[in-house]
Symmetry: C2
Subunit: 703 residues, 2 copies
């Protein structure tokens, strides 16, 4: 028995010096057989200890009857046994001083309570021996940096060599690891290491993310996430990555109920709110995608290109039709095709009429006869345009393909700006694909992959400015307020809380008679608004229970009488209660909301408000609390921003007041903590002078 003194560092799990294979076999049809073959074939240089009581050796490696017989404590042991043998095997590994067990065995925590209990037991056993567990229900690791092909995926037999590079992948899906390994191999994406983490019974995603952030040979880290165990740690690690100049890309399942259900059954993960995760990614500089294939392709492009110098792109293609379609897609995706500088046009003019100096540039639209110099000059001119932050070449079947590709590769090697190569040639001209793989230039094949790659390059370029590294400081002039209310908040209760937090709420007085109303209007000041207060009516305006623009006593008398009738119609016999409110001038209506996300903490959302809020779906979200400046960033992301900023010759709304108010409101998040269920202000009206909470509702915990 060997007792480990300290747990093995995660970096040593990823690049171990020795591996024990429990249940080793030469039979390729078996899990254990495939792992051994792959490990040996791809040249793992560390020590391999096959454990098999029935064999003397497998694939030239002497076998051991049990792990206890191994002459040293293996760094890791890979275990692919049935659940019934698992506990004993884990115990043996612990007693042998193994650093970490990579547990492939599935149908545990993601299947049943029984399976979950077994998971817990093996973790306890491991902990008792200072041993770590990866998985269970994982598919091993593929670590080119260590020439370690420790997985049964048959794509490891297909690959003659492991593609070396600086892209890492941590995955909650084992099958996806094999699939993305394949995509990386076939598209020129070089890998440092891929780890499949399964059910995260012990080691979790953040442990491997941390290791790859620290790993010198890794520059870009991809993640496939179903459920995050430690969101705050995740956030801190992603910020650390950015500070170290590394990029993190992620795809997360669970944008919808359907995806969430599947993730749960897959690795027993609870997905949490996707919009809160999106907000976290934006604030931590994580590039969020929705297609894993695209993620790995983009990672390769980021890794093997310099940083984008700007977000505008220069594109050359070889199909007029394809170029027109691409021009449409770029415009609709918000990707700007650079307007060529006069110098660029002068260069293009040698071979292209002004009417054909487009972006994308169709090489075939040249004047005169075909000769390669035309293509070369055009590629150079567009690439060298000073406004182009990124250069793109789209290859479809065309004349002079080998020369053209060679020149694109040469241009990429100049290393001045990112060069995105699209090889949309299927199996045709496969020697070109080989040339690209040989040269190490990553490529995509399809239009949609190009669009996403350009969006990612643009987002990467912009990410630095959107980082939220520091915690927001409580505004000095925002007092700590004791909020006594519980449960469902009425409008007056909600507005009281908002007013306590310094928001502007229209002056109001609840009245039961005309005289009270006249008196209230007198003290508030005309013009006023009358709102009928009737229980269970959420949308008052539709029933004539909101009347605005009452300018004097005469008008008030008339409107009061009509509203009394409307109230009687809406709720016969109900007591007469009419709220006389200060009338706020016209402005832009927002919805402002505060909620508590169980995984990601308090969230503030701002968006286009009023009655169409569910149909507009124009919202921005951030973790609370937020600063006024951050509210400004959120407002600028809204489609209605032009209305706030002064469209249609109306002048700007008082955006500063809105930002200040929403920032204050956001502190209810941390202040209320778990007491906050949700709070909503709709409409929050931003006028030319001042911003006002015209309505409010919310729910606090009842306990």
């Amino acid at each position: 028995m060997v007792q480990r003194q300290h747990p093995i560092p995660v970096s040593r799990i990823i690049e171990p010096q020795s591996i024990a294979l429990i249940g080793a076999t030469e039979d390729y049809a078996k899990f254990g057989g495939r792992i051994l073959h792959h490990l040996v074939d791809h040249g793992y240089a560390g020590r391999i200890f096959p454990i098999n009581p029935k064999r003397a050796e497998v694939l030239g490696h002497p076998c051991f009857k049990s792990i206890a017989d191994v002459p040293e404590a293996p760094d890791i042991a890979i275990v692919a046994l049935p659940a019934s043998s698992l506990e004993a095997a884990i115990r043996s590994c612990g007693e042998a001083g193994v650093g970490a067990c990579i547990v492939v065995t599935a149908q545990l925590g993601e299947f049943s309570e029984e399976g979950a209990a077994l998971e817990r037991r093996i973790v306890e056993i491991a902990q008792a021996h200072s041993m770590r567990i990866v998985g269970p229900n994982c598919m091993g690791m593929i670590v080119p940096a260590a020439k370690m092909a420790l997985s049964s995926t048959p794509t490891l037999r297909y690959a003659k060599a492991l593609p070396q590079g600086r892209v890492a992948f941590v995955s909650q899906s084992g099958a996806m690891m094999g699939s993305l390994f394949l995509q990386a191999h076939d598209h020129g994406v070089g890998l440092s290491g891929m780890v499949s983490i399964g059910n995260q019974a012990d080691l979790e995603l953040c442990d491997f993310l941390e290791a790859f952030v620290a790993h010198e040979g890794t520059e870009v880290i991809c993640l496939y996430i179903e459920g995050l165990k430690s969101p705050q740690r995740f956030r801190a690690l992603c910020l650390r990555a950015r500070r170290a100049g590394k990029r993190v890309l992620a795809v997360k399942a669970g944008r919808t109920d359907a995806g969430t259900a599947m993730a749960k059954s897959h690795t027993s993960s609870l997905a949490g709110s996707y919009s809160a995760f999106e907000a976290l990614c934006r604030e931590a500089g994580v590039l969020l995608l929705d297609d894993p294939d695209q993620m790995i392709l983009c990672a390769g492009i980021l890794d093997r290109n310099p940083r984008a110098r700007g977000s505008e792109v220069g594109i050359v293609c070889a199909s007029g039709g394809g170029g027109a379609i691409l021009a449409d897609h770029l415009a609709l995706s918000g990707i700007a095709a650079v307007a060529y500088a006069p110098d660029t046009r002068a260069k293009l003019a040698q071979d292209y009429l002004p009417s054909h100096q487009n972006n994308p540039l169709d090489l075939g639209g040249h004047t005169g006869g075909l000769e390669f110099g035309i293509f070369e000059r055009a590629i150079d001119a567009v690439h060298d345009d000073p406004g182009a932050g990124v250069f793109v070449y789209v290859m479809t079947p065309q004349p002079m393909m080998p020369e053209t590709l060679a020149h694109v590769i040469h241009t990429w090697k100049r290393g001045e700006k990112p060069v995105v190569l699209v090889l949309n040639t299927s199996r045709f001209a496969d020697d070109l694909r080989q040339a690209a793989l040989q040269a190490g230039i990553p490529f995509v094949q399809r239009l949609q992959d190009l669009i996403v790659a350009l969006q990612v390059l643009g987002a990467d370029h912009a990410a630095e400015t959107a980082l939220r590294a520091d915690e927001a400081h409580r505004p000095a002039h925002l007092p700590q307020v004791h909020v006594a209310a519980k449960g469902f908040l009425t409008e007056p209760e909600a507005k009281r809380i908002l007013a306590d937090y310094g928001l502007s709420v229209p002056a109001a007085q609840l009245c039961g008679t005309l005289d009270e109303a006249l008196s209230a209007a007198g003290s508030i000041g005309y013009p006023v608004v009358l709102k009928g207060v009737v229980a269970d009516v959420v949308h008052k305006s539709d029933l004539g229970l909101v009347r605005v623009g009452i300018g004097d006593d005469e008008a008030l008398r008339a409107v009061f009488a009509e509203m009394a009738q409307a109230i009687d119609k809406a709720a016969p016999g109900a007591p007469l209660r009419i709220d006389v409110q200060q009338m706020i001038g016209p402005g832009v209506e927002l919805i402002v909301g505060l909620s508590n996300d169980p995984a990601f903490g308090p969230q503030v959302i701002v968006g286009a408000g009023g009655i169409h809020v569910e149909l507009m779906k124009d919202v921005a979200q951030m973790r609370a609390p937020v600063t006024a400046e951050e509210v400004g960033q959120m407002l600028r992301r809204l489609r209605i921003w032009p209305l706030l900023d002064g469209a249609r010759g109306q002048g700007r709304m008082d955006v500063a007041a809105a930002c200040e108010a929403i920032a204050r409101l956001s502190w209810l998040g941390p202040d209320l903590g778990a007491r906050l269920v949700d709070l909503e202000v709709n409409p929050f009206r931003v006028t030319a002078e001042g911003a006002y909470a015209l309505d409010g509702r919310g729910t606090l915990a009842t306990g």
Copy 2:
């Protein structure tokens, strides 16, 4: 000299019995050489007449010194000469009685006035000889039905055989024809014929569309369009295709200004309004896509599968993570994953716990050990689910791939419902891809292609009910109205026209004094609205020039005085003009617009109205005139439909009145004809009783 009596039928151009090659050569590096090699290598069985004064024979075919020497009048001649030789060559062909010249020569009409003039001359020459012209600036034709590889694209050398089938493609881009030929060949899409139409100087897209609609060996027709020369003919042909049980798919460039500019420089096409083209496609059953690669893949899937039985899908995959991502994409794309019937669940229960009986179903989530029967049973169960209109199999690297694919192919061959196969395996397991190609089952490789294919299958299923074959009949009670106005219409003028067409317009009276206003309110009836009439003010409400809810004389006195001040502030010294209008109750606000599209004729749009109209972008469009029922279809497509239909317990709005009114308004389109520039009603308010045009503006031609 041979004088043709009649022009050659287009069907005979597509499947000619004899071809003359002007400038024939064996040199593969030359256009003419590639065409000859491809034609011969792919086994064209008709008569080939190479024209070359310097050679006795090329590739075993005797040469002719000039086309005059050919012993018969060739059906077609393919001409790839420089522009300087073109006119003479066309004349020679005409004099030799050639049926049609396929003119590859580029840099003509799409380049310069000079080039356009040459184009016109060759068409005149051709017409004088009853000869047709295809192109110029075209890339020939690829017609597997005739074993005719009449194009220089090198993809024809790559393809060992022409993939036979029933998908046709007519393209305004020659390079795209070569590219889509490649995609078809590599993804199991069988082709009848592909034609590249270039600049459409003579024969145009509709001529070939018509021929393929009539062609017995064609079932699905794909189109790449830049500019439509004859939109009405196009529409009629698409409806004819639907009646013949054939499908038409299209991709059109020019959704944006950038795309339009490129299309113009490419084939000198004027794109026309994309939204009007979209409306035409919807009404004629054309399946509109935005990616040409996806178009040809979808065509293959439509062609080699039975019609979808419903729009819900049943999916089996082999990756839990991939399945979760797919579930998200389906939900977000509006594709319904069928809820398994109890019978299906009972079958799945043999191998899958209830928690793992998802859709998509992850094969790997089974209980017990791995054996192929599990996969077979699962595929059968999901495919056979009675609610599944379409079955999908997503293959990524997984266990037992050959057996699994064989079973999917077997399932597809049962021919009960469409089976969409996704082979997302890059170059791995290429024997499987070969097996699929061999079996003739079309496949896609990527998630986004699957989503689009499912959307197309759904749209195809729904298309029949949305067809507009018949012309709308003028409502009997809609009088022919003489509209005298010209130029820019004021609100009263616009409302007068609308009232003449039977729309409900609030009663109104323009007043200059308080007494006039009181008198007007008395006759109209309270409550009233006051609107300040000030020139050059479009958005009155923001300046206090719209006051609503004035309930009696007292209120009116007060508001009149305030508005007089507001008018003076907005336009000092302007005459006092206040419109006293009947106040319309609350409702849902729409925008209704009428315009004249130069290509597609009068268009009516309806959408979410009010001040946020540009931000909501919630609109539906149809060619005018429309029936009330068709207006109802448009309203149901809007995001705000739930508000019209009675959301939030408010009861339905008077949708019938809205449909009737908008249908009447739409007749202004054909009635005004070219006089109509545009007309807009915003807001058009649909209340619980009645629908009202609350504002109106427009422009008629000044001539």
